[in-house]
């Protein structure tokens, strides 16, 4: 089964239905809480408590854990939604170079004005590292620029 097909179906459940339910839950204003039976490694739990108490990373371990979990879930939903979209509209999938170019523009990097350099960097990085992402492309392009300066 291809990755695309896998993203459209989990067992007999359509991914779009899963994403809709996830979004509904993430957007819910229901503030009720539940004592979870989730088992955390005790060292991780202790590290979290220590970071909250001594580094002030969050008002409480609950706040810290909840925010981290929410961020991770939101990112997973966004990524899955994009993959599902690409499954339905293959032409909508941007190339690695196009994503890198978008990221350069968002970063106000001078690389945003050099699409050919980014395209070449994307091709070179992807040939060596098939799982490279847009940040890898920008780093590669900057390194190439530095070498040729």
């Amino acid at each position: 089964m291809s990755r695309t097909t896998m993203l459209w179906y989990i067992g007999s459940v359509v991914v779009s239905d899963v994403l809709d339910k996830l979004n509904e839950l993430l957007d819910s204003e229901d503030g009720s809480t539940v004592n979870t039976s989730m088992r955390l490694p005790s060292a991780l739990r202790e590290a979290t408590a220590l970071a909250v108490e001594q580094l002030g990373v969050a008002p409480s371990t609950t706040t810290f854990t909840t925010a981290a979990l929410r961020r991770a879930l939101e990112t997973a939903v966004m990524e899955a939604a994009l993959e599902a979209h690409y499954g339905q509209y293959p032409a909508a999938r941007p190339s690695l170079a196009e994503v890198a170019l978008a990221l350069a523009a968002q970063d106000r990097s001078a690389l945003a004005d050099q699409p050919h350099l980014i395209e070449r960097a994307a091709a070179e990085v992807a040939a060596r590292y098939p799982h490279a992402d847009a940040d890898d492309v920008l780093l590669w392009a900057q390194a190439q620029q530095a070498l040729s300066a």
Binding site: S16, D20, H85, A102, R108
Partner: protein
């Protein structure tokens, strides 16, 4: 922490796979996901007045696909409406563009990116706050 704000044209492009700028806007959303995967907090934001102008009704079944991307609403509440009114009066901008300017001011972030068909307009409604306006 960064916010990537969508204007009307960006919403139109995202919602229509046949739009000639669809892939460009999707690339920007993919860039947001790239950074989020590395732990950066990057939000994709749409001012609700922009949704009105773009005809994006979240309760409409036709909006199901775009709703899944988690481009979150920035509401036109009392304080934001007051700011938007001042922006509109000062610049003559449309309600939607004025709401973009108000959002830029109200987001507690220094790094605001606006995806737009008109970077000059977006810079004007956002002034004096500096933004990164990207022409799509």
């Amino acid at each position: 922490m960064r916010a990537v704000v969508f204007d009307n044209e960006a919403v139109q492009a995202l919602s229509d796979p046949d739009h000639d700028k669809h892939r460009v806007v999707v690339a920007h959303l993919a860039a947001v996901v790239t950074r989020r995967r590395k732990g950066a907090l990057v939000l994709a934001v749409v001012p609700t007045a922009v949704r009105v102008e773009a005809g994006w009704d979240r309760s409409d079944a036709r909006a199901a696909a775009i709703n899944r991307f988690r481009v979150v609403d920035h509401n036109l509440d009392t304080a934001v409406a007051d700011t938007a009114a001042r922006v509109a009066r000062r610049t003559g901008a449309s309600v939607a563009d004025a709401h973009v300017g108000a959002v830029v001011r109200h987001l507690p972030l220094d790094d605001v990116v606006v995806l737009t068909s008109d970077p000059d307009d977006m810079a004007r409604v956002s002034a004096p706050k500096a933004i990164t306006a990207i022409r799509i």
